[in-house]
């Protein structure tokens, strides 16, 4: 009991979030579950991006292309070789991880700006590259995937909880994504709290100092790329399955930007950040094009400008606001706010305890 009471509030938040995500499909419609599936998928990809950008301090504008690698691996295996869709997900992750690892090697020689350009180039060529091997990728026609049927045990369990409701494939894919998201978040949490995480942060903050204290900079930097790509590959495979269609236009340049912006908005170098980032990445375009336009209290001129400019304007505005007011993202803002609240509750006496504040970035 004592342990429970002294547990930091983020554990309670974690449990509440977990219960929310497990229970969600039983109360919302199948369509809303499919929306949250996409949130979870974006959260997975952003978690990977976060390991790369937030912890190892490298940048990638090409994660949309890495998602495409994962999605196409899975789609080709399912469509051409009739592999079970669940088996294709780890294969897609591993193959994309290898691609990411290979990408990490030239990245060693590039400083941040050139790395951004190199990965940007990847995102630019990906749609054209995918079109070429028509036999394999289906070219511009893409590959259609049949939505998977939920297995019997899942149907039974879902029916028992909801009082006999038939589980749809959208709801089933939600749970598949949720399980994978939990697993991958747990992995990331372990990674960043232990030796590799500390090494990556050391490289991010002072590369020379890290190298001189015996950290293999090259190994950790390429590893960060590999792991990050692994996450993107898993996310890509799930993305393909949940949309049911994989085509070059599914992975436009804008997707890579949205992912990076999502990572920054959520909060870099934090474990909760990617989840918040996933929520923003999925809902922001929808809110800016549908919600803003339908609000009677917003002047029609502004609403129309929002609608015509598309999600880009909301991304831009939000990103600037976050950079100014919350450089550590939404999660950083909440953590800082909580810290300040607690300090005030404790009263002035504690102020001069002389202790260094804990690093807000390593939640």
């Amino acid at each position: 009991m004592q342990r429970l009471r002294s547990a930091p509030p983020r554990y309670f938040l974690g449990v509440i979030a977990l219960l929310f995500f497990i229970g969600l499909p039983t109360v919302v419609t199948s369509f809303q579950s499919s929306e949250w599936t996409q949130v979870l998928i974006f959260a997975i990809v952003i978690m990977g991006l976060n390991i790369l950008v937030g912890y190892s301090g490298q940048i990638s504008l090409g994660h949309g292309a890495l998602m495409a690698v994962g999605a196409y691996t899975s789609a080709i295996l399912i469509h051409r070789y009739q592999v079970d869709y669940l088996i294709t997900i780890p294969i897609a992750g591993l193959l994309t991880g290898v691609v990411g690892f290979a990408l990490g090697i030239p990245a060693l020689r590039l400083s941040a700006l050139y790395l951004a350009l190199a990965t940007f180039a990847l995102a630019v060529v990906a749609p054209s590259l995918i079109k070429r091997p028509v036999q394999l990728t289906g070219g511009v026609q893409g590959i259609l995937l049949t939505p998977p049927d939920p297995p019997q045990f899942a149907k039974d369990a879902f029916g028992a909880v909801t009082g006999g409701q038939e589980m749809t494939s959208d709801q089933w894919l939600y749970y598949v994504s949720l399980v994978l998201a939990l697993l991958l978040f747990w992995l990331a949490w372990n990674l960043v709290r232990h030796r590799p995480g500390r090494a990556m942060r050391a490289i991010r903050d002072r590369e020379v100092a890290a190298a001189s204290s015996g950290i293999n900079v090259a190994a950790y930097k390429t590893m960060a790329f590999g792991i990050s790509a692994f996450y993107a590959g898993i996310g890509g495979a799930l993305y393909g399955l949940s949309i049911g269609f994989v085509s070059p236009d599914t992975f436009p340049l804008a997707l890579s930007f949205q992912l990076l912006v999502g990572a920054v908005i959520g909060g870099l170098a934090s474990i909760a950040g990617p989840l918040v980032g996933g929520i923003f990445t999925f809902w922001l375009p929808i809110v800016s094009s549908q919600f803003v336009a339908s609000q009677p209290w917003i002047p029609t001129g502004i609403a129309a400008a929002f609608k015509n400019a598309g999600p880009q304007v909301s991304y831009g505005a939000l990103l600037i606001a976050i950079m100014i007011f919350a450089p550590n993202g939404v999660v950083g803002l909440v953590t800082a706010g909580y810290g300040r609240l607690q300090a005030r509750l404790r009263g002035a006496g504690d102020r001069g305890s002389g202790q260094m504040p804990s690093d807000p970035q390593t939640v």
């Binding site: 419609t29 199948s30 369509f31 809303q32 499919s34 929306e35 996409q38 180039a121 630019v124 060529v125 749609p127 054209s128 079109k131 070219g139 511009v140 026609q141 893409g142 259609l144 049949t146 409701q165 959208d170 993305y239 949309i243 049911g244 269609f245 085509s247 070059p248 236009d249 599914t250 436009p252 340049l253 804008a254 997707l255 375009p285 094009s289 549908q290 129309a304 609608k307 015509n308 400019a309 598309g310 999600p311 880009q312």
Partner: protein
């Protein structure tokens, strides 16, 4: 349960009506998801942001026609048409999510005039499984008409790209039998569909295509100049441009700059007068340009006193953001006219099945916004609504109609 409710309701309504009919032949009033006693809800996804957002005005023009019908005729058979437009930014991922939203959350009766080949392909299986009509998709990709047997909840509207290319082939064979042809095409379904139509249409003369070059829309570096120079060097005297507007304008200007004056065939997607004007401004000579049309061009003075054009101008006044001279807008109004036509025909049997059957098998319409003589027609064995087009020639200031309508009905399987 929310999802099953209306379906069970429909089933119940259906059984009740069936029982009430007792075998008589008069169709009793029936309804379906998205239909109330005074409204019909239609859904649409289209690019209103992103690189392809120039197309977005089409949906607004369609809405303008529905508004016109609601205001002047009290809707269709007493039901007002409500039209919900969502922006998919031309990506399949958005199209899937938004289409599911429209079908499962907003409970639309049918999807109407969704735009884009990849985006509409991405939702075709879903809509067919859900038995929601995917009506008059805004793409000329031949598959949307040719594959009716496997997807009988989907139908296109505009002439298939392959049909248009076959008309060019006919024109070549009849008027320029010895032409040496060079082709510049966009490397996607759109360009490839055109190229197939041209090759099929030329038949044994396909060897007259001396060179073909393709480019990617997403290519970061424009390669058009190099490709057009290569086509010129291949000895071609006839150039086919199976390109989208931005690339067409660039190509036309480059052709003049490299001192080439071939006979040019330009696909209909890129032939609106606005684009020709832009090409001229960037230095294109436009000496000998041929294309085809099937819609009345709002910029063409010959339709100034035409009833269809007058109606178009009345209708489009309902859309404050629409440019009356934009060819995309009259396209939108024309396809919305066909939509209202099938809803009117469905009368009191407002079921998805009935409306879909009329669209795919029972259309026979004279559309006031299309060139005189063009029929919008489907039969139980033919699901290509529009197949007639007319060759047009650029006069320096506008398009002039040549010869008579050419019909490609039945040539594409």
């Amino acid at each position: 349960m929310a999802k099953m409710g209306p379906r069970l309701g429909v089933l119940a309504a259906f059984l009740v009506t069936l029982a009430a009919c007792g075998g008589s032949n008069t169709p009793a009033a029936q309804s379906d998801v998205g239909i109330t006693s005074n409204s019909i809800l239609l859904g649409n996804t289209i690019a209103q942001s992103g690189p392809a957002r120039a197309y977005g005005t089409i949906a607004n023009a369609e809405n303008a026609y529905f508004t016109y019908v609601n205001n002047t005729k009290g809707g269709v058979n007493g039901r007002m048409i409500k039209f919900k437009i969502l922006d998919d930014a031309y990506t399949p991922a958005n199209a899937v999510t938004l289409t599911k939203q429209l079908v499962e959350q907003d409970q639309v009766f049918a999807m109407f005039s969704g735009l884009g080949t990849q985006t509409q392909t991405s939702v075709r299986d879903y809509l067919n499984t859900q038995k929601v009509p995917q009506l008059f998709v805004a793409t000329g990709a031949t598959t949307f008409m040719a594959d009716y047997s496997s997807h009988n909840w989907t139908i296109g509207w505009q002439p298939p790209y392959q049909g248009e290319a076959r008309i060019y082939a006919k024109d070549i064979l009849a008027n320029h039998a010895s032409a040496k042809i060079g082709v510049l095409y966009q490397n996607d379904d759109y360009g490839q569909d055109y190229l197939k139509g041209l090759t099929d249409g030329l038949g044994s003369s396909a060897s007259q295509i001396v060179d073909k070059e393709s480019y990617d829309v997403t290519a970061a570096v424009p390669t058009l100049a190099a490709q057009l120079s290569k086509l010129k060097a291949s000895g071609a005297d006839t150039l086919f441009l199976f390109t989208t507007p931005a690339f067409t304008i660039g190509s036309l200007a480059i052709v003049t700059k490299i001192g080439w004056a071939p006979l040019i065939y330009l696909n209909s997607v890129s032939n609106p007068q606005v684009y020709m004007g832009l090409a001229q401004k960037s230095g294109a000579a436009l000496g000998n340009v041929t294309s085809v049309g099937y819609i009345k061009d709002p910029t063409d003075p010959q339709w100034a006193s035409d009833d269809g054009m007058k109606l178009y101008k009345t209708v489009i006044a309902n859309c404050t953001t629409c440019n009356v001279m934009d060819g995309f807008n009259i396209y939108g109004v024309a396809v919305a006219y066909t939509m209202v036509d099938i809803l009117t025909q469905a009368g009191s049997v407002m079921t998805r099945k009935n409306v879909m059957d009329i669209a795919a098998k029972g259309l026979n319409e004279t559309n006031p916004f299309l060139l005189p003589g063009v029929k919008v027609k489907t039969t139980p064995s033919d699901h290509f609504p529009i197949t007639q087009e007319q060759v047009i020639h650029w006069s320096g200031t506008g398009w002039t109609l040549q010869g008579s309508l050419i019909d490609e009905r039945g040539t594409i399987k």
